[in-house]
């Protein structure tokens, strides 16, 4: 513990700074960015490629730190987030803000000087989008928060691509679309069985504002354009049939699980197995889809 009986915050442990960066979210960001980088046509020096991925990871960590700096009050009200460094009072808020701003500046400037300024600009915009547009503006005010905010998480493969090619073409836009359309079913599945937490914190997630039925309808509805975006790279001739087949199978499984969510009538979080199953599968789905995509493109290119 960093707080003593007198409730004065002592200098934070380094592990708390690490926790501010949301390492688990960062791992997904690094993975999708790496896939974008590997799938792009052209060569990149391994050191520059490593620097690009490092900057994207640091930028994602910066976004996480700024998010936790701003949301310390609602994090304290949710069981899932109450043990984070700021709500648990293990760290001074100001330190979290400085840490987030410092990491943001470092990642963007290093990306610009070492890789290229297009990827640096995209990285800066994605940090701004997550920290300001999503965290400060959308999250507390609209149930569409994660629909629009999902764009922030969709940028990494585009940045990875831009790091190699110096431009943004149709294929990275499709990768963006896949993550953008994947985000609502993924987070709404979580929000369904964590509804009580979000309601207690006053976060207007869709299940809190519009109810479970509407949320389940939306999850199922979003799964179709997501599946279409997933197979689009093959349909447009940008990958081989191997990716097309894998994307089709993974997406059909996703649709089946989303259908089970749509049919579920349960209002008790304990009976929400379809929602929990979809949430877990959605993470696996994205990993497998992007891994196959990157492998396929590397063989093609």
């Amino acid at each position: 513990m960093t707080t003593i009986a007198r409730d004065i915050i002592l200098p934070a442990d380094w592990r708390d700074f690490w926790a501010l960066t949301k390492p688990r979210v960062m791992s997904l960001v690094v993975f999708t960015a790496l896939c974008g980088l590997l799938a792009a046509p052209g060569d990149i020096h391994p050191v520059i490629g490593f620097t690009a991925i490092l900057c994207i990871a640091v930028g994602a960590g910066a976004s996480g730190a700024l998010n936790q700096w701003y949301e310390f009050d609602i994090d304290a009200k949710m069981a899932r987030t109450a043990e984070r460094p700021l709500p648990a009072r293990r760290m001074d808020r100001q330190a979290a803000l400085h840490f987030g701003i410092g990491l943001s500046g470092f990642s963007v400037v290093t990306m610009g000087m070492a890789v290229n300024w297009l990827s640096a600009g995209l990285l800066a915009f994605s940090i701004f989008f997550y920290a300001v547009v999503y965290t400060i503006w959308l999250k507390r005010f609209t149930p569409q928060n994660i629909v629009i905010g999902g764009a922030a998480g969709a940028f990494p493969p585009v940045i990875g691509w831009a790091a190699v090619t110096g431009d943004v073409t149709m294929l990275p836009v499709l990768l963006f679309a896949i993550i953008f359309l994947w985000t609502p079913p993924h987070f709404w599945a979580l929000a369904l069985f964590m509804k009580a937490d979000y309601a207690a914190a006053g976060v207007p997630m869709l299940p809190v504002v519009s109810g479970r039925k509407v949320t389940r309808n939306q999850i199922f509805a979003y799964s179709f354009p997501m599946a279409a975006a997933a197979v689009a790279p093959y349909a447009l001739g940008m990958t081989s049939w191997v990716y097309g087949a894998v994307a089709a199978v993974l997406s059909v499984v996703f649709l089946v699980l989303a259908f089970a969510v749509w049919r579920n009538q349960s209002t008790d979080a304990g009976d929400m197995k379809p929602e929990k199953r979809l949430f877990s599968y959605s993470i696996l789905y994205l990993f497998l889809l992007f891994a196959t995509f990157a492998g396929d493109r590397m063989l093609m290119v």
């Binding site: 380094w14 050191v47 070492a114």
Partner: protein, 50 residues
């Protein structure tokens, strides 16, 4: 050392602070060395030596 309200730290608090400062200094040293290596690598890669 004193608290922000000028009360002295207890011996346990002082010990904890010293331990954390030492750990943070070590991490910072590793990060700085890593950054030097990275920037050296970037420079060499940009020059086209490798």
């Amino acid at each position: 050392m004193t608290m922000p309200d000028n009360r002295p730290y207890t011996p346990e608090e002082t010990q904890l602070i010293r331990k954390r400062q030492a750990a943070r200094s070590k991490i910072l040293a590793v990060l700085l060395i890593g950054m030097c290596v990275l920037f050296f690598g970037i420079t060499v890669a940009k020059i086209g030596f490798w």
